[in-house]
Amino acid sequence: MSNSTESNKPEIDRVQLVYASVLDVVSTAGMAMIAAGFLAYVLQLLPLTVSIEDIASHWHLRSGEMNSILSVPSGWSWVRDPLHGDVLSFVSIVFLSMAAMICLITVIPVFLSEKNRAYALIAILQVLVLAAAVAGLASGGN
């Protein structure tokens, strides 16, 4: 133990509390979207771009092989035609995958207001890495 003192509960860093609050909202919304999107998908409340039976008869193939036969939602392809059950379910996963990035973007101004330039820079770089992945720069995009 590096050091221990009998004192009141330590104060939590303000940046951390902001990050926690945003994460709470985003992750809860993400989970609700995932549940709702999946129900819309499997109960076929909306039309599908690819039928579930087609997916199930090809899910033993590599992703590249499946994509050459079926046009499953990937990357940002769903933007063109979002009102489908399978697309909405995919969008909920997209949202969840952007949760960390959303939280980081909200804490950069807090780091800057505290004049913590080193962490503001690290957070900006982390957002850029995530944004590059989201934009498909590393994977060729679509």
């Binding site: 221990s4 004192s7 951390q16 499997v42 193939l61 990937s74 590393a138």
Partner: protein, 318 residues
């Protein structure tokens, strides 16, 4: 231990043992038997995946491992889904668990943002690289390497020590410059614990490799993050476990996008897996205090060794 508690534990251990025994079946036996006679409806696989993920969620909490590390080798061996889709789902399983636990751990001061950010920056770059490499390699090669990785992880779990409150005499230059230190309230001793870290440069290098492996195999990396944070860098165990999740939420997100662009994330597989593991984890957390976690941990390690051997034999085409 109460009688009701004892019964619950026996049910749980029976379920774990049954799962372990099922791993002894020949490769693809489960998938083959269900496909005989014109195939099985898709929803049967989806329900089975949900139920399996639910039990996995319970077991992973009791054994102190992330769900992703068990999910990928076992699901890729016993379900008819291609390894690409299993890895995509595995990353989302690890990511969702980390996201849902994050707010509470951050507010308690257990997950530390300043400790996690430099490590996740390095790790997210390498996890993207790992995902690209993993999706470029042949499925057999990935399966073989996955098997080897799982057995190495099991060995780390057997050998791996842990230190509740490591001693850090002097911080390294990076940790001092970035002010990586903190304090949290430990209710078991009713005291505030101050902590700091050292050996940050070595930690950064190791997090690069951990991120790469996590992205390549679609696994969470708590099995490696925690020992590096705790035993190498000197963060207290609770800080290490909680901060590992925070790192994972960023690394997993970066790698998940590579899988999403390659069409390797199917909601039909990913969502039941995420839902099952998250529900199971909540149950696991509730019964944690009533179960002999050491016994469950041993069973899980045995399951991992068998799943790893299965992956290796599948990878070399046996």
């Amino acid at each position: 231990m109460t009688t009701a508690g004892g019964k619950k534990i026996w049910w749980l251990l029976s379920a774990v043992l049954l799962t372990a025994l099922s791993l002894l079946l020949p490769p693809d036996a489960a998938a083959a038997s269900l496909q005989i006679g014109g195939g099985i409806a898709w929803w049967v696989w989806v329900v089975l995946l949900f139920v399996f993920s639910f039990f996995l969620g319970i077991v992973s909490v009791l054994a102190g491992v992330g769900g992703g590390v068990l999910f990928v080798p076992i699901v890729s061996s016993f379900f008819p889904f291609h390894l690409d889709f299993v890895r995509g789902a595995g990353l989302l399983v690890a990511l969702s668990g980390a996201l849902s636990a994050g707010p509470s751990l951050l507010r308690k001061g257990l997950a530390d943002l300043k400790l996690s950010l430099p490590l996740s920056l390095i790790g997210s770059i390498s996890s993207v690289a790992g995902a690209i490499v993993g999706l470029t390699m042949s499925a057999d090669s990935v399966q073989l390497l996955l098997g080897i990785a799982i057995i190495v992880i099991a060995a780390i779990m057997i050998k791996g020590g842990k230190s509740g409150y490591p001693v850090v005499d002097e911080q390294d230059v990076i940790a001092r410059a970035l002010g990586i230190s903190g304090s949290y309230y430990e209710p078991s001793i009713e005291k505030s614990i101050d902590w700091k870290v050292h050996r940050t440069p070595v930690g950064l290098v190791l997090f690069f490799f951990i991120g790469f492996i996590g992205g390549m195999f679609g696994m969470g990396a708590g099995w490696a993050n925690v020992p590096v944070l705790n035993l190498l860098m000197g963060a207290p165990l609770k800080i290490s476990v909680a901060t590992s999740g925070l790192v994972l939420s960023m690394n997993g997100a970066a790698a998940a996008w590579i899988y999403m662009y390659k069409g390797a994330v199917l909601p039909l597989i990913a969502v039941p897996a995420v839902g099952g593991v998250m529900l199971g984890s909540k149950i696991g957390a509730k019964i944690l205090s009533k179960v002999n976690t050491n016994s469950v941990r041993i069973i899980v390690i045995v399951m991992m060794v068998i799943a790893g051997l299965r992956s290796i034999t599948k990878g070399i085409g046996l």
